[in-house]
Amino acid sequence: MPELHDIANEFIRQEIDEFIERPDERARIIGLFAKASEQMQAIAAALIDGDHETVDRLTAEAIAAGVHAMEVMDDGLIAGMAIVGIKFRQNFIFVPEVLSCARAMKAGMVHIEPILSAAGIEKLGKVIMGTVKGDLHDIGKNLCIMMLRGAGFEVIDLGVDTSQDRFIDAIEEHGANILGMSALLTTTMPNMGKTIEAFIDAGLRDDIRIMVGGAPVTQDFADEMGADGYGKDALACVSLAKQFAGKA
């Protein structure tokens, strides 16, 4: 089993040592980085540090040097975001820091996405995402979308203030079977339940799996509304989507 000292990058070692507490997560993260090249570890380190300029440069250099785009995404960007996600969940960092890491990830994805789309790699599944009617907040939803895309899902982003009809139309139009709804306000959370009811009325509820999230949303509220899953953060959202797609 790989050990912490098998990871060459000192910053990554310190991050794991300081912030990854759960033994199962620690073992998984150490395993992830121990197999990554030093170049990928450097990309991950810059991402964790929120340094988008360095991620941009290192990713471009790696691609130019012939490193496979998938390797850069998995061993550099996604591996870095795995540490970011855990630090966020454990309240070691907050949304501004996560946003700066997301900005760094986007800077890397700019080089990778065109290569992956040209290669026509099969997606894990198709997800429709949107913030519910009356709610114009989208930071959490956008983080989830970024992580879902990074994990290999095709995501159709309906944006904010999404009506029940738009959710239903999008599911039908794109043939997606996973729906993600987000709400930041306690005043708009009930619109998640109304959307689920609209899917029941339209006779489509059994065709899709619905996940919900957002700062005030809880597992109890998700259960009460009849959602299939609740994700506390972007990592949980990806894990739910994989479970729904049978790829967990």
């Binding site: 929120g50 309240n91 960092i93 907050f94 949304v95 501004p96 820091e97 946003l99 700066s100 900005r103 009617k133 009356g134 709610d135 114009l136 907040h137 989208d138 930071i139 956008n142 904010v160 203030d161 306000l185 306690t186 005043t187 708009t188 959370m189 009930p190 700062a215 005030p216 949303v217 809880t218 109890d220 509220f221 009460e224």
Partner: protein
């Protein structure tokens, strides 16, 4: 004691005959809008309707306070933000994807800021309420803090990134935006507000306690000094980690969320800042029945929370019966205590 005396005494952590039931944020519902013919969006833009809907917290629900500012967008509208006014069943919202400012140099609080229809609506509504209800019920105004105005005027994501990338520029922005907070607050006091809610959403769901200390504590001290009525700071979400800082600001009260236990919150705030709250909105007031509401009220009372009420603006479809249960449960609890003693 009448309702006004009760609320003001509790905000000043003085003795009361019973715990007041207070709404520092909106308790407007669709049912109440129908009852008094004051639906959204009109009730957010016309002083008479705003006052009429607000008064139902006292006349229909039995609360000890009236709070006419149902949304968080009145002054943002006056600053120039684009507003989605919505309809009866939805809240007005700022279109934060279309920010009006990018840097501190862009910040302008217009000279006629207080004459804008959406700020004047609030001051007029407060005047009407004061005229109608005299000194029998506490009238609470609302002025948004600069952190929340930053989300509206710069966009949430750009503002939060700015706070990380350039702390100096962020402080400058906050310092310039505070003028809107103070001017709108003073205008409402002049119109007759007994107290002001000051929402400033530095919530634990978004930023750290250190952020609160770095960016907001000093500004909040300044607000408490310059706005000479009791100020009720409102921050949603988990906030226990920043309550020690909040308690140092001189704010009269903190309106706290159900993500914080009444006991742990009182342990920090007792004798330093009054607590208002924290009946859960989505899971209790909106989804459950009076019995669950009563249980949360009692838990707050047992913990010694100074004023009881919903944790935040309630969903518009909340049942009136659940809201009426709050004052009913407070009275019953005090009656039971009086009998035992």
């Amino acid at each position: 004691m009448n309702s006004r005396q009760r609320v003001l005494a509790a905000l000043n952590r003085q003795p009361v005959d019973r715990t007041p039931v207070c709404n520092p944020t909106s308790v407007a519902t669709v049912e109440l809008m129908d009852l008094v013919d004051a639906p959204f969006p009109n009730a957010n833009r016309e002083p008479e309707r705003m006052a009429r809907l607000a008064a139902t917290s006292y006349t229909e629900l039995g609360f000890d306070s009236i709070m006419p500012v149902f949304s968080i967008i009145q002054e943002s509208s006056a600053l120039g933000c684009k507003i989605q006014w919505e309809q009866k069943d939805n809240w007005p919202t700022v279109r934060m994807r279309e920010p009006i400012w990018q840097t501190a140099d862009d910040i302008r609080v217009p000279d006629d800021f207080l004459d804008h229809p959406d700020t004047r609506c609030v001051t007029e509504a407060i005047r009407l309420l004061r005229r109608e209800y005299g000194n029998e019920v506490a009238i609470i105004g609302k002025t948004m803090g600069p952190w929340s105005l930053g989300y509206h005027c710069f966009g949430v994501e750009p503002f939060l990134l700015l706070s990380l990338d350039n702390p100096g520029q962020t402080k400058l922005c906050l310092d310039r935006m505070k003028e809107a907070t103070i001017r709108f607050g003073l205008a409402q006091i002049e119109a007759g507000a007994d107290a002001l809610t000051l929402p400033d959403h530095a919530t634990g769901d978004l930023v750290s306690a250190q952020y609160y200390a770095r960016y907001l504590r000093d500004l909040h001290i300044e607000f408490a000094e310059r706005l000479k009525v009791p100020i009720i700071l409102h921050i949603c979400g988990r906030t226990v980690d920043r309550m020690p800082y909040i308690a140092e600001t001189g704010m009269a009260a903190f309106h706290y969320d159900s993500k914080n236990g009444p006991e742990e919150s009182m342990a920090i705030c007792r004798d330093r800042v009054a607590l208002v709250g924290n009946i859960n909105n989505p899971e209790t007031l909106f989804s459950k029945g009076p019995e669950a509401v009563r249980a949360e009220v009692v838990r707050n009372l047992e913990a010694g929370v100074n004023l009881v009420g919903p944790e935040c603006a309630i969903p518009l479809q909340t049942a009136i019966e659940n809201l009426k249960e709050i004052p009913r449960a407070v009275r019953d609890w005090h009656n039971d205590r009086a009998r035992i003693n």
